[in-house]
C-alpha cells in the first residue's frame, strides 16, 4: 500500500518536471544562432518566401507563445516535424529510439556481466593479482574514450581479422530487415522467425555492445567492489562468520545487501547512455536517437532535440520507477 501511494506521489511531480526540462531545452535550442527558415529554403530563398515560412512555423511570435503552442501539440501527441528528415519526429524516433535502447540495454548487460563478478571477487580477495587487476581495470575503463575503443575494436575485428561485419548500421544491406514490431531488430527478427536477419543484426551488435560494455563495466565494478567490501566488513558478515557459515554464503549475502547500490549505478548509467552513447552510435553509423538529437542541435532543428529530450526524460522516469520497485523487493525495510 505504501508503495502505491509513493508511486502516486512520484507521478504527481512528473508533469511539472517534464515541462521544466522541455522549457529549458526549448530556450537552449532557440538560443542557438541560425535561422531554420534560412537553413530550410537554402541560399536562393526570396525574402517573401522566408517571411511566409517564418509565419507558418510560428517563428514571428514570442518564445513563450511558441513554447505554449508546442506544449499544446505535445499533449495531442504531435511532436512536430524535423526539417532535416522532413518526417514527423514521432515516426523518426519510433525508428531510432529502439535502436539506441537495444544497444544501451545489451551494452549494460555486458557491463554487468563483467563488472559484477570482478567487483565481488575484488571485494572478497583484498590482496593479490585479481584485486590489483580489478583496481586497474576500474581506473582504466574510466579513462578510455568509448569512441576510440570502438575504433580499436573495428580495426582489430573488422579490418585485421575480418570477423566482424562492416561498421555501417544495424544490419547488412543485403538482408531484408524484419517487420518492425518493437523496433529492436533482435526481437523483431525472432518474432518474424527470420534467422538470417537475426544473425546479421546480432553480428552488427557485437562490437558496439562490447565497446559500451567494456567501458561501463568500470563504474559498475567500482561500486560493486566498494559496497560489497563494506558489507563484508559489517557486523552481520562478521557474525555470519562467527556462526560458521561458509565463506561463499557470507559473500553472497554481502552481495545481496550491496545490490541496491549496484542497481542505482546501473540506472544512472542507463539514463546517461541514452544520450551518451551517441559517440559509439556515430562510430558504428548506428542511426540511433542520440545521433538524431546531436544532428538536430548542430543544425538548429528544434523538434528532434525536444522530442529526444522528452523521450529520454520519460524513459529515465520509467527506469527510476523500476529501480524503486526493485528496492522494494530487495529491502524489507522499505515496505
Amino acid at each position: 500500500m505504501r508503495l502505491l501511494s509513493y508511486l502516486g506521489q512520484r507521478l504527481l511531480f512528473v508533469a511539472p518536471q517534464l515541462v521544466g526540462i522541455l522549457f529549458v531545452s526549448f530556450l537552449l535550442v532557440k538560443l542557438i544562432p541560425g535561422d531554420p527558415a534560412v537553413l530550410m529554403l537554402g541560399p536562393f530563398a526570396t525574402p517573401d518566401g522566408l517571411a511566409r515560412l517564418r509565419t507558418e512555423l510560428g517563428l514571428d511570435r514570442t518564445v513563450v507563445e511558441q513554447f505554449l503552442i508546442y506544449l499544446g501539440n505535445v499533449v495531442q501527441g504531435d511532436l512536430g516535424t524535423s526539417w532535416q528528415t522532413t518526417m514527423p519526429v514521432t515516426s523518426d524516433l519510433a525508428q531510432r529510439f529502439p535502436a539506441t535502447l537495444e544497444l544501451v540495454t545489451l551494452g549494460l548487460l555486458v557491463a554487468l556481466a563483467i563488472g559484477l563478478p570482478l567487483g565481488v571477487a575484488g571485494a572478497r580477495y583484498k590482496r593479490g593479482l585479481l584485486r590489483t587487476g580489478a583496481d586497474y581495470y576500474g581506473l582504466l575503463a574510466g579513462a578510455l574514450p568509448d569512441f576510440w575503443l570502438g575504433l580499436v575494436l573495428i580495426y582489430v575485428f573488422y579490418t585485421m581479422l575480418g570477423w566482424a561485419p562492416a561498421p555501417l548500421g544495424r544490419i547488412d544491406f543485403a538482408v531484408i530487415p524484419p517487420e518492425p514490431v518493437t523496433g529492436a531488430l533482435l526481437i523483431d527478427s525472432l518474432i518474424a522467425g527470420n534467422w538470417e536477419a537475426f544473425r546479421s543484426a546480432a553480428g552488427h551488435l557485437v562490437l558496439p555492445v562490447l565497446t559500451l560494455g567494456l567501458i561501463n563495466a568500470g563504474p559498475i565494478l567500482k561500486m560493486t567492489q566498494a559496497t560489497t567490501e563494506r558489507m563484508l566488513d559489517s557486523d552481520f558478515s562478521r557474525y555470519a562468520e562467527l556462526c560458521g557459515l561458509p565463506r561463499k554464503v557470507v559473500v553472497a549475502q554481502a552481495l545481496r545487501n550491496a545490490l541496491p547500490s549496484v542497481i542505482t549505478i546501473v540506472s544512472v548509467l542507463y539514463g546517461f547512455l541514452l544520450g551518451g552513447a551517441v559517440l559509439v552510435e556515430i562510430v558504428f553509423s548506428w542511426g540511433g536517437a542520440g545521433q538524431y538529437a546531436v544532428q538536430g542541435v548542430l543544425n538548429a532543428d528544434l523538434n528532434p532535440v525536444l522530442g529526444f529530450v522528452l523521450y529520454s526524460a520519460v524513459l529515465s522516469l520509467f527506469i527510476y520507477l523500476i529501480v524503486d520497485l526493485l528496492y522494494f523487493l530487495i529491502d524489507p525495510r522499505t515496505r
Binding site: 562467527l242 556462526c243 560458521g244 530487495i330 529491502d331 525495510r333
Partner: protein
C-alpha cells in the same frame, strides 16, 4: 580425568602497536571448562573478555593475533585445524551468543532464514524439516507466535526478541560449548532476568557447557558453577562459586563485590582515592592491578604475581591475598 570441553593454556593475544611494543590483550591465560559446566568470567570493559571469546573461536579481529599458547576443544588443538575444519566447528560445536544484536542480524533476511541457514549449512537439513526445527527452536527460546515470527525481519523485533533470536542461532545445532558474551547487557532489567533464566534452562536441557562472560558479578552468583575474574588480560582469581563468594581473596574481586554492597564504608574502603586510579591502565611490570589496589606494596610494583592455589580449587594471583576476617 575426562578431557575438558575447552582448555585454554598460556594464551597470549597481541595487537601490534605502531612504533611500540605490541599491546598484549591476553597474557598467559589458562582456563578450562568441563562438560556441562558453566563458568562465569567477570571483568570490566577492556579487560580482554571479548578478545578471549574471539580467540577461542579462532577469530581474533585483525591485526590482533594469538602469539602464544593454545586453545583445545574436546582435546583437539584448534591451531592445528585448517580454516574449513574450524568453520564446521563454529556455530555447530561451539557457538556464541552476542550482545545487542542490532546490526549483527542481516536486515534483508527473515528470522527464520537466518536461524535456518545455520542449520542448513552445518547439517544439510532442509525443506519442511528445517522449518519445523527452526519453529521448534523459536518456541524453545520463548518467542511468542513462532509461526508468524518465522517470517519477521530483524527491524520488526524488539531488543529482547532479537536477543532470543541470537540465542536460537547459537543453540540450534546443539553445540557442546556456548560462549555468552555480555549477552544481557543491552536489555531492560526485567527482560534481562527472563533471558538469563532461559539461557540457564537451555544450557541444562541441551547439556551444553558455557562460558558466561559478563561485567556484572551479581549475575554469576545464581548462575555459574565456577567464577573467574579477569583484569588486564590475566585471570586474577578463579574458584567454585561457593568458595568464591564465601571467601574472595583478590583485592580486585573484593572491589567488584563491594561495588554491589549497600555499605558505603565498605565501598569507599576498597575504592582507591582519585579519579585517575579508576582510569589507570593495567601495569606493565609487577602486578597489573597494582595502580588501583588499596593494599599495594612496593613488592607488587616490581614482581609479577603467579596464580597460586590457596585452597582446593581456589586460585588467586596476588602476593598478599585478602584474609577472611572472622
Amino acid at each position: 580425568m575426562t578431557t575438558p570441553v575447552l582448555a585454554v593454556e598460556g594464551l597470549d593475544v597481541e595487537f601490534p602497536s605502531y612504533g611500540e611494543a605490541p599491546v598484549r590483550a591476553l597474557h598467559g591465560l589458562d582456563l578450562s571448562i568441563g562438560e556441562q559446566e558453566i563458568v562465569g568470567l567477570v571483568g570490566e570493559s577492556g579487560s580482554g573478555k571479548t578478545t578471549l571469546a574471539r580467540a577461542i573461536m579462532q577469530l581474533v579481529p585483525p591485526p590482533g593475533r594469538i602469539s602464544q599458547g593454545s586453545v583445545s576443544f574436546e582435546g583437539r588443538d584448534l591451531s592445528k585445524l585448517d580454516e574449513e575444519q574450524l568453520r564446521t566447528l563454529r556455530g555447530r560445536a561451539m557457538s556464541m551468543v552476542i550482545a545487542n544484536p542490532r546490526s549483527e542480524l542481516n536486515p534483508l533476511l527473515t528470522v527464520g532464514q537466518q536461524i535456518g541457514n545455520i542449520l542448513k549449512y552445518h547439517t544439510g537439513c532442509k525443506g519442511r524439516e528445517l522449518r519445523e526445527r527452526v519453529i521448534e527452536m523459536l518456541k524453545e527460546v520463548r518467542i511468542p507466535d513462532p509461526e508468524r515470527r518465522y517470517d519477521a525481519f530483524p527491524h520488526e523485533l524488539s531488543g529482547g526478541m532479537a536477543q532470543r533470536v541470537v540465542m536460537a542461532i547459537a543453540l540450534i545445532c546443539n553445540p557442546r560449548l556456548v560462549i555468552s558474551d555480555d549477552a544481557t547487557s543491552g536489555l531492560d532489567v526485567t527482560v534481562q532476568a527472563q533471558v538469563l533464566e532461559l539461557l540457564k534452562r537451555l544450557a541444562e536441557r541441551h547439556r551444553t557447557a558455557m562460558l558466561f562472560i559478563t561485567r556484572d558479578i551479581g549475575i554469576t552468583a545464581h548462575f555459574c558453577d565456577r567464577v573467574a575474574i579477569i583484569y588486564g588480560g590475566e585471570i586474577m582469581e578463579i574458584a567454585t562459586r561457593a568458595r568464591f563468594f564465601a571467601n574472595p581473596m583478590h583485592p580486585y574481586s573484593v572491589l567488584l563485590l563491594a561495588a554491589f554492597s549497600h555499605n558505603p564504608k565498605l565501598r569507599s574502603y576498597w575504592l582507591k582515592e582519585g579519579e585517575a586510579a579508576a582510569e589507570a591502565r593495567p601495569a606493565e611490570t609487577g602486578c597489573p592491578f597494582a595502580p588501583r589496589c588499596v593494599r599495594v606494596r612496593e613488592h607488587c610494583r616490581s614482581v609479577h604475581p603467579e596464580l597460586r592455589e590457596l585452597e582446593a580449587g581456589h586460585h588467586v594471583r596476588c602476593h598478599f591475598p585478602v584474609e577472611r576476617r572472622a
